[in-house]
């Protein structure tokens, strides 16, 4: 639109067209935003319709069965809970420790910069890669404990071809390598969510104002006293929120655990962390791949409903923690 045209009395029309364009664009924006919401609604409704009727107590009390109406995912639920507990147990101290180091202690040098870049890059590594890492390192121990490996020969270790080197520390059974056990699953999941946990913890720690640290130092506290008695308690709600969100991501992961060698059919409840396991998402995936529609369409949907309810509960807890305990400085 040039000045000449405006002078020629077209201004009103020009303005009207612009307003119309603005309105059309507004509608396009609204529709685009709705796409995501509609998809979410359709997804939930579809799953509820297909799986609702199959959501029976059997699902919680039975193992997988050849008869769909008697099949459940008891071992998957147990496996998910145990793997998740192990993941929480390992990733909380490691993640918070790393975050405290990077926020409160780390000098500004190349090593720190490298660790920072490294963590953000790890956050983008596909989950299957963590599965392969866990398979090689934790599950197989680089093959170092096979009867014919140089390590076993050199140390003359009494290894079992199937379970590797079994020994006991303080009366607790230990195995090397870890095999396709709950422990391996928990460790791989820990590495998977660690970048997320570290980033969330750092943000929570950074949100604690410096005046609190200064006051504590002024009273003669040592750096660790400042961190453990002032900074961490203040940052804890934020850290826990991030932690729960990361765990809920781990809860839904199937791929890395499939690669680690988690089983699809586990007709027992695990007794120790050395037992084989399955988790809910793997059980669901297994049902989806079976040919009969009872498994493929209905039972899997019922399993998904259970998984989604658990995830929803975890997310609600995270939101609650954030709203209830988070301080505004």
């Amino acid at each position: 639109m040039t000045g000449q045209q405006l002078v020629n009395g077209n201004f009103e029309r020009f303005l009207r067209r612009k307003r119309l364009m603005g309105r059309i664009f507004h509608v396009i924006l609204l529709i685009s935003t709705l796409v995501g919401l509609v998809m979410l609604a359709v997804l939930i409704v579809d799953i509820a319709i297909e799986g609702g009727a199959w959501l029976t107590p059997t699902l919680f009390t039975n193992y997988h069965s050849r008869r769909p109406e008697q099949a459940g995912m008891k071992s998957g639920i147990a496996g998910s809970l145990i793997v998740l507990s192990l993941t929480a147990l390992f990733s909380f101290p490691l993640g918070v420790g790393a975050a405290v180091y990077l926020e409160e202690y780390a000098p500004k040098n190349r090593l720190t910069e490298f660790i920072n870049i490294n963590i953000s890059n790890l956050g983008g590594v596909p989950s299957v890669v963590y599965g392969m890492l866990g398979l090689t390192v934790f599950s197989r121990g680089f093959g170092l404990f096979k009867p014919n490996s140089w390590l076993v020969q050199a140390l003359n270790l009494p290894v079992d071809p199937r379970n590797g080197y079994i020994f006991s520390v303080l009366g607790l059974e230990m195995r090397l390598p870890f095999g396709n056990s709950l422990l391996t699953g928990g460790l791989a999941m820990t590495l998977l969510i660690l970048p997320t946990v570290i980033m969330a913890s750092r943000e929570a720690i950074r949100a604690v104002p410096n005046s609190i640290r200064e006051a504590a130092f002024g009273l003669g506290a040592t750096p660790w006293q400042v961190v453990s008695r002032q900074v961490l308690p203040a940052a804890l709600p934020g850290i826990l929120t991030g932690m729960i969100l990361a765990l809920s991501r781990a809860m839904g992961e199937a791929a890395p655990l499939i690669i680690l060698g988690a089983f699809t059919y586990v007709p027992f409840l695990p007794r120790t962390i050395w037992d084989q396991f399955t988790v809910m998402p793997i059980q669901i995936y297994n049902w989806i791949t079976l040919p009969q529609p009872e498994y493929r369409v209905h039972l899997s949907a019922a399993g998904i409903l259970v998984l989604l309810v658990v995830l929803l509960g975890m997310n609600a807890l995270a939101v609650y923690l954030r709203n209830r305990f988070e301080k505004r400085w």
Partner: protein, 338 residues
């Protein structure tokens, strides 16, 4: 780094009232405390180092096994990178059966199609949330959209195969009957997986783009309004260009996420590695192949179980490059506005 290091010169321990009780006790407790502080600092440093060890572990385990794969006489790197046939179970075992291009083709096709869905919709959603939506609406919409990112990928896979695929087939039948065409939609197909994956990465695109747009200084918008720009012009000609680097970083990150996504493609995209541009046919992606091999029982050390490491290493390199580019753009962009 904010925090203690800025407040305190190096690791100088601070004396506390306990230390004032006399020369001997002060020296001992001071020293003990100092040692304790050093031990704590060292163990926190070790926690930070775990991430570096993880990276080393990934590189050693992936590339170590991948090298073992390429050292086998039946395969070679040249055929692996240029071959157009992926038949790990084909007999006789020959380099011709281990060309990764079909898997790369499948991966890139699914990621590109899901990008075509997620990028425009995500960007428009971000513009709406950042520039148009009232604050209250934004506060409701944003977390609801982020639920989409929290839904497990197994669930999306189920949705693709039990809902999207049947709809696509019905649509194809309808088009065929109306237009007399012969469109065939395989039960497992790339399009269905792509649509669902587009929905999954949508919040990633919209979140990062919205953050980028919100950090555009208000003065730029006000300047444009003062020159007589409409809201549409401010959004499209001022805010989006100013936030472009952040938006681009988000796009790349979303694409990388789509490349690495596993369960959706393992469930809905099929297991037929082929070089094709037809999204309605069954294909296989790199991640899909890895899961297929792991889900069945493959003996350790067999060529099939080793091939997943070669595929995994390729996948890792692809996503790594994209993440580095995205991080680089993000970093540069932050320097401009903070």
């Amino acid at each position: 780094m904010a925090g203690l290091s800025r407040l305190l010169p190096a690791s100088r321990a601070v004396s506390s009232p306990d230390d004032q009780k006399g020369i001997f006790s002060r020296g001992l407790s001071w020293r003990l405390r100092r040692i304790r502080e050093q031990i704590i600092k060292a163990s926190l440093f070790l926690c930070g180092l775990v991430s570096v060890l993880t990276t080393i572990g990934i590189i050693v385990s992936l590339f170590g096994e991948a090298i073992g794969f390429f050292l086998r006489p039946e395969v070679d790197l040249y055929h692996f990178l240029t071959g157009t046939m992926w038949r790990p179970l084909g007999r006789p075992v020959s380099p011709d059966n281990f060309g990764i291009l079909p898997l790369v083709n499948g991966t890139v096709m699914v990621a590109a199609l899901s990008g075509m869905i997620a990028l425009p919709i995500g960007l428009l959603t971000a513009i709406f949330l950042s520039e148009y939506a009232p604050e209250g609406m934004r506060r409701v919409l944003k977390p609801v959209l982020e639920i989409l990112a929290g839904v497990p990928s197994v669930v999306y896979g189920y949705f693709a195969i039990s809902f999207i695929t049947p709809q696509l087939r019905t649509l194809a039948d309808w088009v065929n009957s109306v237009a007399g065409t012969a469109i065939r939609v395989d039960f497992f197909n790339a399009l269905s997986a792509s649509i669902v994956m587009g929905v999954m990465i949508l919040p990633l695109v919209s979140s990062i783009s919205e953050d980028a747009m919100r950090s555009v200084p208000q003065a730029l918008r006000e300047g444009a309004y003062a020159l007589g720009a409409t809201k549409l012009e401010v959004a499209l000609r001022v805010v989006v260009p100013a936030a472009l680097s952040g938006i681009l970083a988000g796009f790349i990150l979303a694409f990388s996420r789509a490349v690495g996504e596993t369960m959706i493609v393992a469930i809905a995209a099929g297991s037929t590695p082929r070089v094709t541009l037809n999204p309605l046919s069954s294909i296989q992606t790199m991640t899909g192949f890895i899961v297929q091999v792991s889900f069945g029982d493959t003996p350790m050390g067999s060529i099939n179980s080793q091939s997943i490491y070669a595929v995994g290493a390729t996948l890792f390199i692809m996503t790594f490059i994209m993440n580095v580019i995205s991080n680089y753009i993000m970093r540069r962009f932050r320097e401009v506005y903070e």
